[in-house]
Assembly symmetry: C2
């Protein structure tokens, strides 16, 4: 029933069912996604893929954002390249209930594509715990639904597109820290686009792929709650897109409270005259207390490059404290191996605090004054910038957008 | 270790390590695959896909076997179309230990591609029992290894291609009976080809995807024996390609003993003058005893079309008994709904025999003579034609090849 219900919902959804608030968050999602694609478009994960696959592209019809030409590839290749670029800096949006990055695979039509977040909620957290990258495993399904909507597919065709997309389960967490992590949402966009195109022409699949005994949810997760989630589809139920948050820092959101606190501490140290222009010499120790998940996901103490640094709470803290920023420029390889950053990273000690929420952290910086005495400055972060409680304002999204476009477009 | 070991094995494998016997079975595999692609090339699953995707193909470099032009698509699209065609009649080869159809995804270089059968053995049967279509889930990996070999990739590049391929886990058994079943090996071929092309240009993934804690084997199966399987790679160990069998009938091999016995009974009934040219009227009942797996996998009593009939032991038995053949022509939609076939199907009663092996069956046909008396003719099948014990001879493979080419090529 879940597959049919999702297909019926999408194919019958009309624009005037969307409230002004939902349209606003959809526009913010698309705007944020566009900036991420431009900002990521010069990364080696893109340039390698574009160069390797150039000879396979059909007649160009679709834009590769950030590239010099405005129309550079067929739609299927464009979905891959733009999808990789959107995720490569880990700077995209986040559906907070499931840590899905929802716009990556479904950028073509935000509202129906976000129906996949219901599918994600139905298998969260068991599916992620097994080892699947939930952004892309659900991304194929979201892209199929969104493109089917754009193609004007019927409900049965949409159900078959969900089947074709769901059978392409792309994304193992084992790939985190390599180029393949950002390949995942790109490939998911291709999977869903291909599924919608094929089913739109009569290609058949299962019409109950999500809920069948050996269907998607039962195969990829140890538990599933599809019926309840599908029953909560908006507008009668809840729009998942309203739970979408935007990242102020280009890494997994579990690191954001630490970075946010360290950026604040950077300002405080400067205000108190405790931070020399050279930075790190006076900082003796940084004690960081975080939710256990932070150490599990981002416990790399000695990252070797920008991709690995995204999985290092130590790197995020060090650049926040030392440089007062954690934008893509602070995740470039040269910064990751910079001697000052490395030395400060080594002075950061992170421990798990059992009573902390994931969005919470406590920081204590020990600084030696010029007279030899030691000052400890503490900071408790309840909710990081970019959370639902402290969302990025439109003007901050604009700053982020421009900040990503300048290095690429000038 | 398994990922590196497989990559090292493939990249260092040399042609002169192959015995004449292995080369012969590789040639048979490729020959059988080629016939299947030609024979499947006019199926709607191909014609829909080709029509839907024509506008996305890059400059044509690769042959679509069975089509009128000889060079029709770029290599990535050709891999999809040829892969779909190779499997659409369920007439391809079978690695008997795992029921993988090994040449589907790895046709470009049979010997290294068959290394995937070791990966399949490492998770068989748990992986299949969960609900995965093992032909395509391992097919991506086999294609990546095979194409990496053709590209002359290094062992590290090959390891990354395995990572990129393994993260694209394509194929749910829920799709059986629809066009998407044959999409699986086609997409697997694309997944592996893409993986090898990207890793050959420096795209990175995990170098321990198969064995990592949250790697492929642990995520897609409840048990795995990778170390033992990788340790048994040929030529020091065993060539899995030597376990490759070729199908005399275009459906899952679990039905083959019943079809084989029914074809024999057809001849016996004719010899005894008990089969009118019209066929079914004198057959009152057919009692079929099979391994329980046969009913689980192929228990459809009333298939509605050719794809569904492949999952009906009743249809296979009926056409074998009535027509003395079970070639692709006997799985066309018109035959599946033919009144005589339907009536005979309804007289077949299949039950599970606990003491039977999967490759064994017992048949008893009750026939009414013209004088009103009833004769029962029995047949016990120990091993079906096409099994390792009764392999198809080269001349039978040639007949199968020609039989598939004639309707397509004339």
């Amino acid at each position: 029933m879940a597959t049919q219900a999702l297909a019926n919902w999408s194919s019958s959804l009309e624009y005037n069912a969307l409230s002004a608030e939902i349209i606003h968050v959809a526009v913010r999602s698309f705007y944020n996604w566009t900036g991420c694609v431009v900002g990521g478009s010069a990364h080696p994960a893109i340039t390698i893929a574009r160069s390797a696959l150039a000879r396979f592209s059909g007649p160009p019809t679709s834009r590769l954002l950030g590239s010099e030409g405005s129309i550079d590839a067929d739609a299927i290749h464009a979905a891959l390249f733009n999808g990789i670029a959107s995720h490569v800096h880990d700077y995209d949006d986040t559906h907070l209930d499931t840590i899905i990055h929802p716009t990556d695979g479904a950028h073509r039509l935000s509202a129906p594509g976000h129906g996949r977040c219901k599918v994600g909620r139905a298998v969260w957290p068991e599916h992620y715990d097994v080892g699947w990258h939930i952004t892309s495993t659900t991304g194929s399904i979201g892209a199929a639904v969104a493109v089917s909507k754009l193609l004007g597919s019927s409900a049965p065709q949409t159900a078959h597109s969900i089947g074709l997309a769901a059978t392409q389960v792309t994304g193992l967490r084992e790939m985190f820290g390599s180029h393949t992590k950002s390949f995942h949402p790109g490939r998911a966009a291709q999977n869903g686009l291909l599924a919608a195109i094929l089913s739109g022409e009569g290609y058949t699949s299962s019409a109950q792929v999500l809920e069948a005994k050996r269907g998607w949810a039962n195969v990829v997760s140890s538990a599933q709650r599809l019926d309840a989630e599908v029953a909560s589809l908006a507008p009668a139920g809840r729009w998942e897109i309203a739970q979408n948050a935007f990242k102020p820092f280009p890494c997994g959101i579990v690191v954001h409270p630490v970075i946010d606190g360290c950026v604040w501490l950077h300002g405080e140290l400067r205000r108190q005259g405790l931070l020399l222009s050279e930075g790190e010499y006076e900082i003796q120790e940084v004690r960081v207390t975080v939710h256990p998940l932070v150490l599990e996901l981002t416990g790399k103490t000695a990252p070797r490059n920008g991709l690995e640094a995204k999985f290092s709470v130590y790197h995020g803290g060090a650049v926040g404290l030392l440089l007062g920023r954690a934008a893509p420029a602070q995740y470039e390889d040269a910064v990751v191996v910079d001697e000052r950053v490395v030395r400060l990273r080594e002075r950061i000690h992170a421990t798990a605090g059992e009573n902390l929420r994931p969005e919470e952290c406590h920081l204590a910086v020990s600084v030696q004054r010029s007279d030899g005495s030691t000052t400890v400055i503490e900071k408790h972060v309840d909710h990081a910038m970019g959370s639902v409680e402290r969302p990025m304002a439109d003007v901050q999204l604009t700053d982020k957008f421009v900040d990503q476009c300048i290095p690429v477009l000038g």
